[in-house]
Symmetry: C2
């Protein structure tokens, strides 16, 4: 049995997701991974190195979910389900409502340079996935042919951020599902050039 990288990354994701990059200490990670500092450092090099692997894995999963929406036959309907899902997590995992990327971005000014650039890349990567959703919905005529694709993709990312952020500050996230309908409705609505 070599070092369980995959498992460690998943356990570290939980901690970073809950406490953020700055808020997470190496001792939190040592506890969560059940590893002593030397093992973690020999496997990941530094706290930043571990975080970057976590961010990479997290972004990949999220990107995959959005691309699955884009690749479905009914992208707008799948988008609805994608947006609604995080509102249904149980209380014990409430931190999972907030997107890890957006959460980390809030600490922007204090982040190491390497984390900053990877964060920017992650945001851009996810925006590409949102753009694929728009394009697919346009091709299935669920969206008008003249929709401004890049703006709509960025707007969609913004709606994602808004909903996730609001959901973390409300006692019952599920009660925000009307917002999902509003988003899809507005996506199909007016896009004055």
């Amino acid at each position: 049995m070599g070092y369980p990288r995959e498992q460690s990354i998943q356990q570290a994701t939980e901690v970073f997701w809950l406490k953020g990059y700055l808020g997470t200490g190496m001792r939190d990670l040592q506890t969560a991974l059940d590893k002593r500092p030397g093992s973690i450092y020999s496997a990941f090099g530094s706290k930043e190195g571990l975080y970057l692997e976590v961010l990479n894995h997290y972004t990949g999963v999220l990107h995959g979910q959005i691309m699955a929406v884009a690749n479905s036959d009914t992208p707008l309907q799948q988008l609805r389900e994608f947006l609604r899902f995080p509102l249904t997590v149980e209380d014990s995992a409430a931190h999972k409502i907030q997107c890890l990327i957006v959460k980390t971005q809030a600490d922007w000014a204090e982040l190491p340079e390497g984390v900053k650039s990877e964060l920017q890349a992650a945001l851009a990567h996810l925006r590409e996935a949102f753009q694929a959703v728009i394009l697919k919905a346009r091709s299935t005529s669920e969206l008008a042919a003249d929709i401004p694709v890049e703006r709509a993709a960025m707007w969609l990312q913004g709606q994602f951020i808004a909903m996730r952020t609001l959901a973390t500050s409300v006692e019952s996230p599920a009660s925000l599902s009307w917002m999902v309908d509003k988003i899809v409705c507005d996506l199909c609505g007016e896009w004055a050039q």
Copy 2:
């Protein structure tokens, strides 16, 4: 000359706004206020105490701005200007794009209990102001009579968060002004019950 509370609060606001609650150290504050630790502690009691005064002052200013929108004769037009303004800050003050409250909220899990509850209160207070804008716009018939007021207020707060967050991750915030138009457009659009 007594202790310059007002001035200290404004200087501390700058630091907390830039670096967040967790990211700001007492030594950052000592530098910014040009005061030694004892003075700060005798005036504000603790880092948390100083932050709470900063948050209170900040919330008051923002609430006042939104209420000014609500009290104008053309609330929707004023809302446009209110939303557009932060997109125009110069590069050197880029951190001012992001709302201090939303920024602090991202560190939720690590915040002292007192900060958490004040943050919740601040968000609710600002939502009341957004609600006043909706109500006023309805009374001037800029908005339909059957708009769901509470939902629209929360949605508007979400749009505010989305725009401010996106603006911090883009090279030219001013290029997002189309989003302001989209927000006002969507506010006037469909609100399926």
